[in-house]
């Protein structure tokens, strides 16, 4: 034998609807609160990410600025920068082309020395005669005309051989 739950009372639809409505409201409030919490959390996270990025950028900028200042203040760096600038602007190809084009029969180039830092170029040669040596100087001066080659040294080595040195000092680059 067991207890009997017999109950003929009609289940109130009003009560069921109330419970459903209450459950819906509670669910909606919970969902709304959850959504707001999620948004808040996302915003906080976004702010954290932005702050970290800004901090990183600031750090990089600061480091870059420091490096720039150090480089600007350091005499060695200043010197190196100037040298680099000189090297980059020295017309080496033009000098070499001038030397190659100054071809004179009876003259032989024995050494070429170019110092970009000082803007000095030097060509050592041997020629069959002094006249040929001067022809070589003229040829060098002909192209390009703004290169002021100067015969710096010339000497007779033997009866038919002259040795000399022609130099060029470039300024203003």
């Amino acid at each position: 034998m067991r207890p009997l739950a017999v109950d003929f009372a009609p289940r109130s639809p009003w009560r069921r609807r109330s419970v459903l409505a209450l459950a819906t409201v509670v669910w909606a409030l919970a969902a709304l609160q959850g959504a707001r919490l999620w948004q808040h959390w996302q915003a906080v996270r976004q702010q954290e990410v932005l702050a970290a990025q800004a901090q990183e950028r600031a750090g990089l900028a600061m480091a870059s600025e420091r490096a720039r200042r150090l480089a600007a203040d350091d005499p060695v760096q200043v010197q190196r920068r100037r040298e680099l600038q000189r090297l980059q602007t020295f017309p080496l190809a033009e000098v070499m082309r001038s030397v190659e084009q100054a071809h004179v029969v009876g003259a032989r180039l024995t050494a070429i020395d170019v110092d970009a830092m000082s803007g000095h170029a030097q060509v050592e040669f041997e020629a069959d005669s002094l006249a040929i040596a001067t022809q070589l100087v003229s040829a060098l001066r002909a192209d390009p005309p703004h290169f002021d080659w100067q015969l710096e040294e010339a000497g007779q080595m033997s009866t038919n051989t002259f040795k000399g040195r022609i130099s060029l000092q470039l300024t203003g680059y």
Partner: protein, 242 residues
Amino acid sequence: MWSVWPEPVDVYLGTRGVAVCRGSDVLHVAQPGSAEACRAELRRWAAHGRPPGLRWRVWLSGGLCQPWLVSVAQGVSSVAERALVARASLAGLGLAPDARLWIEPATLDQSAVAVALDPATANFADAWPRESGARLVSLRPWWAEALGHGLRRAARPDAVAVVDCDSVTWLAADGAGFSQAKAFTPLTEPAAIAQTIARQKLGMAAERPVVSTWTLRLDASAPRAGALHTGLPLVAFAEVAE
């Protein structure tokens, strides 16, 4: 027990009497002579002043809400089929064919107790609380509540006899399930009630069956048994005689 809800009002309705209680307070008692008169009495009572509560529990007598046993039947394969079988037996039991039915338990592997609710009473219970501005929270036979209290006692009874204003309801066990469920109604004479219970006891298989008898008294001189049987609705009218 403390509750956020106000205490419900217990309304008893039978074919020979009505009662209204709130907890152990008896608000109204009357013993009209018919079911129609009982319903009219309750309507009259509700019309005279505001009802004392919004939640009403209506308890029905065995004469208005009769049980009977629905045995396990071959060929019945669903709860709906069993309900059809139970409804088919209404006329044979002298009950209205359009009575409301309740069958418990819902499983098909054991005998079930079918309960029929008188249609006029069902219509009254649906409409009357609403007309009175109250809400019907339960509509149960009082004998079912007494059965529950009887089964909670230390000495588990083999049978429970519930005597109310118009009937004796007899429920007996055979192992786990019910072996008998019937209401003898109308039955109001004390001698006839005692004979009926004695006859039912003799018909039981056990040599000395334990029978828990619960009696509902609607006369004002009935002893207040509330202190003895706390928790049973209409406790002011109930007493146990085992």
